[in-house]
């Protein structure tokens, strides 16, 4: 990775951050949506004390993924509507720099929502989500599905029905993240010894790395012309 690559990545990330700072439309919508989804789940599943420990990590991750769908879609749709994508393609930067730039922005926004959700859910449900390991799982997991989400959002904005297709494309493919992250979080929340859930965290990290390599290799085909 040369300096040119890093400069391009930094430029894209700072552009996204500045746009978000001025409009505040992405993170706000995502945070509100995930909060609503947590509340809806608690009504729909009638989360009592016993059900909570079982279901809470699932509720957390599903809410996060739903919220991120909102963010990924918007982030890439904005690029396309404002013609910024064409400008990026004209610029002499590699496709993978564009990918990493968009990925870091998307990941950061989703992570902000997640960081708000963790203490909130801790307070609302009386489970211990404010824990170093839970935090690490959240960071790795959010990064993981941001990787595949950024690639598929780039794909989905090029289809006719755009927003409608991202959930259909993303949900089945990010299942490995959901599976491992939920299991790891569940183990951590229930206070099980690390030997029981550490393997899920390792698996999550491994899957993330595999997806990252594939996405870096394949992104240039998703974004050509």
């Amino acid at each position: 990775m040369n300096r040119h690559f890093l400069t391009a990545v930094r430029a894209i990330v700072s552009k996204d951050l500045r746009a978000e700072w001025r409009s505040r439309e992405l993170v706000g919508a995502m945070a509100l949506f995930s909060l609503l989804s947590v509340l809806v789940f608690s009504f729909a599943l009638e989360l009592d004390k016993n059900a909570r420990e079982e279901a809470i990590s699932g509720v957390l991750w599903v809410s996060l993924i739903f919220a991120s769908l909102l963010g990924f879609n918007r982030s890439l749709a904005l690029e396309q509507d404002q013609g910024s994508l064409d400008a990026l393609l004209l610029a002499p930067v590699s496709r993978s720099a564009i990918f990493v730039g968009k990925l870091l922005g998307n990941c950061l926004f989703t992570l902000l929502v997640a960081l708000a959700l963790l203490p909130l859910m801790t307070a609302l449900y009386g489970v211990q989500l404010l824990d170093g390991w839970a935090l690490l799982t959240t960071i790795v997991g959010v990064f993981g599905f941001s990787v595949i989400g950024t690639l598929l959002a780039t794909l989905a904005v090029q289809t006719r029905s755009r927003e409608a297709l991202l959930p259909i494309a993303l949900l089945p493919i990010c299942l490995p993240f959901l599976l491992t992250a939920v299991r790891a979080t569940k183990g951590i929340v229930s206070g099980a010894p690390p030997s029981e859930w550490r393997v899920w965290l390792q698996l999550l990290a491994a899957i993330t790395i595999i997806y990252l390599v594939f996405c870096l290799l394949l992104y240039r085909f998703v974004l050509e012309e």
């Binding site: 989905a156 090029q158 289809t159 259909i168 089945p172 299942l175």
Partner: protein, 246 residues
């Protein structure tokens, strides 16, 4: 393109002799494995006649595996070389594989009714097999939603490669999440598997030919037919464009 085709792109090119032979062999082979499974293999002591559905159930998954594998291969080669032929193969793989995967789900469901006493249960493996079908259904929806043919080909090649994750997940999920009730025939079944049976020599005699047939001849033959259909479709599209332009 020959002179004849240029004048009439819809002209039916005769089936290659190899394809005709493959079709006949596959059909005969399918009939043969049905006879093996239904009459030659012994009746399972515990499960009775319903166990025979297994001779279709498991091979159909592996047929889907071959077809979806062809989608990955087609996708990789398309991205690498850019030849449309490989994209047609990828699409053929998705459609044939999806049909096989649905046969797999359906036969499993019919078997589960008497053995597990339910048509469906939210077991990890059943769930991931269902998700696999949905992934490829999503492939077809996405594909229909992209107008520019060249963009469609490269985007769907990428998606076809990622979609294979759901196939691998279905294969390996019982090793990762051991709390499944789905039996494993090759190797040891999970502890709480319901309705497992041993792969005795009688079972293998009926299973192996069926497995080989579904793994190779059936998907290849069907995909070849689907490939020819894609050619025909493209000719129709080209003709439509020409007529609209004229």
């Amino acid at each position: 393109m020959t002179q004849h085709e240029a004048e009439n792109p819809l002209a039916v090119r005769p089936q290659p002799r190899l394809l005709r032979a493959l079709t006949i062999v596959s059909a005969l082979g399918f009939a043969g494995t049905l006879v093996l499974g239904l009459f030659v293999a012994g009746t399972d002591i515990q499960q009775g006649q319903v166990q025979r559905i297994f001779y279709i159930h498991m091979p159909s998954f592996f047929g889907a595996f071959t077809a979806f594998g062809a989608t990955v291969l087609g996708g990789i080669i398309y991205l690498w070389r850019g030849s449309e032929a490989w994209d047609r193969i990828a699409l053929a793989g998705v459609e044939v594989g999806l049909a096989f995967a649905l046969i797999n789900l359906l036969t499993g469901s019919i078997w589960a009714r008497p053995i597990w006493n339910t048509w469906w249960t939210w077991d990890p493996r059943l769930t991931s097999a269902a998700v696999m079908c949905l992934t490829y259904a999503a492939y077809l929806m996405l594909r229909a939603g992209i107008e520019n043919p060249q963009r469609r080909r490269s985007l769907m090649s990428v998606y076809g490669i990622f979609a294979f994750i759901s196939v691998l997940l279905t294969l390996f999920i019982i090793r990762i999440v051991p709390d499944t009730i789905h039996p494993v025939i090759v190797g040891a079944s999970p502890q709480n598997a319901q309705g497992a049976f041993e792969a005795t020599s009688g079972v293998v005699v009926a299973l192996l030919p069926s497995l080989l047939l579904w793994l190779t001849l059936m998907p290849i033959t069907l995909m070849w037919h689907r490939y020819r259909l894609a050619l025909r479709q493209e000719a129709v599209d080209a003709l439509k464009l020409k007529l609209l332009g004229a």
